[in-house]
């Protein structure tokens, strides 16, 4: 048991260090600049992870991009410039919010379109039923009149 414990302790020393999302040594001294860095990181995808932002990811690539963003912020680049730079380097894939362009047109208008079509369908179904239930054909009117006459002779 003693040896097992020793072995485990040794192994934990050998195991890869636990990398993490934003690490203490990355954080910028100026809270306003750091806040901008965090905001930007939350919009960018960690390219080697599944659906994680670089802000949340513990991958080395995410770490590198986080550091890169902070370097650029300190240099005085604005958010758009940094984002454009990263897109030119990695493509639209890095943006968690896809840009609005012909290829993504359906993606962006799809949901509002579905809402509009649904509303239209409901309105049409209503009006059709309204017509169907409200107005009777002349023939039906005559039938009702005949029935009424039978039941309640005038």
């Amino acid at each position: 048991m003693k040896y097992l414990r020793l072995g485990l302790v040794l192994m934990s020393l050998l195991a890869a260090p636990l990398a993490w999302a934003v690490q203490p040594d990355e954080v910028l001294a100026d809270p306003a600049l750091e806040a901008r860095a965090r905001e930007l990181s939350a919009e960018l995808r960690c390219m080697v992870c599944q659906n994680q932002s670089i802000d949340d990811s513990d991958a080395t690539l995410a770490h590198d991009i986080r550091v890169l963003i902070r370097q650029r912020i300190v240099k005085g680049d604005d958010n758009t410039a940094i984002r454009d730079f990263l897109v030119s380097r990695y493509g639209d894939f890095i943006l968690l919010k896809p840009p609005f362009k012909p290829e993504t047109l359906l993606l962006w208008v799809g949901t509002p379109l579905a809402l509009a079509l649904g509303a239209l369908a409901i309105a049409r179904a209503r009006s059709r039923r309204h017509v169907a239930s409200a107005s009777l054909t002349a023939e039906e009117e005559a039938k009702i009149a005949a029935l009424a006459d039978n039941e309640f002779p005038r």
């Binding site: 890869a16 636990l18 993504t104 359906l106 949901t111 509002p112």
Partner: protein, 661 residues
């Protein structure tokens, strides 16, 4: 030997499923009662066989029988017993077997408690359920056999993926599957109604308990999964709009819409065709979810198996059932007669609006989840659709829906009075608005959505409460009369009010995330860190040996001023067999908020990297979901008394009727 019995039982289950599917369909169409009567015993037999097979796999895992591939690859003899059991479904083959087990269990429920159903309906429902079983049993036997042997057997197993060695795995997948697969019964009912070409309010009464059971479990399952992610991922995220999460959200949205529209159908005999459509849709999304997760088409953290053969097989199942049911729908739906008429401003009208928003949200999730796949397939271009997109589209739709909730609840059936509703909701609206403004002023320049969400949440909660209050209290009512009225209110009224309060509570928890704070810092032992209203101090850092892992534990104390309010032990866990490290967050629940701590590496000078979060009201996110599920269960209890139609209710003692859920 036991393993072979399990495999054989699974094959027998397939044979019984074939009988369960073919014979009753024939019997129902030729009006042959003895043939349709085969359905129930076949369904029970099939369940028994699948249960036997599942039991054999559990046995193999418990006994650490490493001559079985499935056990060797996903288990380890040193694992705690609970993980040995949950490891059964912590892998592709086992989780598919669990899927089929629950499918068969729901079929058995109909066979046992469906004696009040019209015989042809019951035969058809069980037959369709049998068809689904055939497809998935074939899938398991042909592509994902959990009983495959290994020769020579390894001396030790490869251990379960460390991320999955958690209590969450013991309950999250079974609950989620109860929800997913529960909608299969709703689907089978819809298909049976279409086969018969007949549907009425009684159909809605039969199907509603099953839909509610499935919905409650799905709600709990999703909430459980979200909390699991929250405490394991080390930074307190709880929802990522990950494709796999979306896969469970889509059936939930469609199922929620169904639970609402089936209420309209039951009470007012309206929205029949639409309800059938939703029933098919909800299960189609369950199948789609199974496909997305199981085929490995989305390479995500959840895809612990990927094999293109499996993908194509499930895709075929998907095409067969979704295509088949929608073809049947388009053939038969025009034959279904439309029922009750209602004004646009009415409870029914509000529920139609609810359905519009829920299904549109569902469409949005669907689009966002599959668009990148489709685009890459067609143009080769890779894009990412992440949280910001979903928050903008689906989040906005759900917020608008929240605004409508109390209004819809307060409207009367058939024809509602909007002015009266506005009067009744004045208090709720005023409190909501006032708190939103107050919070925005207090916060002064934080996220805009947080105060709006909080205000909206309060409006939903108070609005739902005032709906109940209005039914109990009128000027001059004595407390005694109120109590007797409260007792007289149907349980389903309490249930729906509670579920809607749950929505508000969850929303409040979500909004409160905007008011949290975080500290990321390298911290020395004994150095206090201020986060939110508390101070956190790390007192010591020590190793601790677990059964199959080693923890590096930080003992930390949380103080409010000078008083100690809680102690936490965030840890870094290293697993021996796979030499991987996971983070065990230290969480202290203080009222409804939580202090959340995770530790990283220790530097040479003894300082340790620490992430500390103050998350006010965060537990409300999951408590709200529990309230929703509890509300659903209450409605279920109410229905149960009336399930099984009057004849049976009278023939049997109340105790007998109460089991007919």
């Amino acid at each position: 030997m036991i393993v072979e019995i399990g495999h054989y039982a699974l094959t027998l289950a397939l044979a019984l499923a074939l009988i369960q599917a073919i014979v009753p369909l024939w019997g129902a169409s030729t009006r042959d009662a003895s043939l349709s009567g085969v359905a129930a015993p076949a369904a029970l037999g099939q369940f028994a066989m699948v249960a036997l097979s599942f039991g054999a796999l559990v046995y193999a895992h418990l006994a650490s029988d490493f001559s079985v591939v499935n056990v060797a690859e996903n288990s380890h003899s040193a694992m705690p017993t609970i993980y040995k059991i949950s490891g059964v479904w912590g892998n592709h083959e086992g989780s598919m077997l669990l899927w089929v087990l629950i499918l068969a269990a729901f079929g058995a429920l109909v066979a046992l408690f469906g004696r009040g159903l019209p015989p042809t309906l019951r035969a058809n429902v069980l037959a369709v359920q049998g068809l689904i079983s055939i497809a998935f049993l074939l899938f398991i036997l042909a592509t994902s056999n959990p009983f495959e042997r290994l020769d020579p057997a390894p001396f030790e197993g490869r251990d379960l993926n460390p991320v999955l060695q958690d209590f969450g795995l013991a309950i999250h997948p079974p609950m989620l599957y109860m929800g997913y697969v529960g909608f299969s019964i709703v689907f089978s009912f819809a298909a049976a109604a279409l086969i018969e070409g007949r549907i009425d309010a009684a159909w809605a009464r039969f199907v509603r308990p099953f839909a509610l059971v499935a919905w409650c479990f799905l709600t709990l399952g999703i909430a459980m999964g979200s909390y699991w992610a929250y405490y394991t991922l080390g930074w307190g995220g709880f929802w990522f709009w990950d494709p796999v999460e979306n896969a469970s959200l889509m059936p939930w949205l469609a199922g929620t819409a169904f639970v609402h529209s089936v209420a309209v159908m039951e009470k007012r005999d309206a929205l029949k065709v639409w309800t059938i459509f939703l029933a098919i849709l909800a299960f189609s999304f369950s199948l789609l979810g199974t496909f997305l997760v199981r085929s490995g088409v989305l390479t995500s953290v959840h895809a612990f198996a990927s094999d293109p053969r499996r993908g194509i097989f499930i895709l075929a199942i998907l095409a067969l059932f979704i295509g088949g049911s929608f073809a049947l729908f388009s053939l038969r739906a025009p034959m279904l007669r439309q029922g009750g008429i209602f004004a646009p401003i009415s409870r029914e009208g509000a529920l139609v609006l609810n359905n519009l928003f829920l299904t549109t949200t569902c469409a949005g999730v669907f689009l966002g989840t599959l668009y990148p796949l489709a685009l890459e397939e067609i143009t080769g271009e890779k894009i990412t659709v992440g949280a910001p997109f979903f928050n903008l589209t689906c989040g906005a739709l759900l917020l608008i829906l929240c605004f409508v909730i109390p209004i819809g609840q307060s409207l009367a059936w058939k024809r509602g009075d909007l002015l009266g509703v506005a009067q009744r909701l004045t208090l709720a609206g005023a409190i909501g608005l006032a708190s939103a403004v107050a919070l925005a002023a207090l916060e002064n320049g934080g996220p805009v959505l947080a105060p709006i969400g909080a205000g909206l949440a309060l409006y939903v909660i108070i609005g739902s409460l005032s709906e109940i209050a209005a039914r109990l209290w009128r000027p001059g009512t004595s407390p005694g009369a109120m109590l007797s009225r409260a007792r007289g209110l149907p349980l389903s009224a309490w249930g729906s009010a509670l579920a809607h309060i749950g929505v508000g509570v969850t929303l409040l928890g979500l909004a409160a995330t905007g008011f949290g704070s975080e500290v990321i810092a390298s911290t020395r032992i004994g150095e206090p860190r201020h986060v939110g209203p508390y101070d956190v101090t790390i007192d010591s850092v020590q190793p601790r040996v677990g059964p199959n892992y080693l923890d590096l534990v930080a003992h930390a104390t949380i103080r409010s001023g000078d008083t100690i309010v809680a102690t936490i032990e965030p840890a870094k866990r290293t697993f021996a067999s796979r030499s991987t490290t996971t983070s065990q967050a230290g969480i202290a629940t203080l009222w409804f908020g939580q202090i959340y701590a995770a530790i990283g590496d220790q530097s040479a000078n003894g300082a340790i990297a620490v992430r500390l979060y103050w998350k006010p009201l965060v537990t409300l996110i999951w408590l709200g979901a529990c309230l929703m599920a509890f509300g659903g269960a209450l409605s279920l209890a109410d229905r149960r008394l009336r399930f099984g139609v009057p004849v049976r209710g009278r023939a049997r003692a109340p105790a007998g009727a109460a089991t007919a859920g």
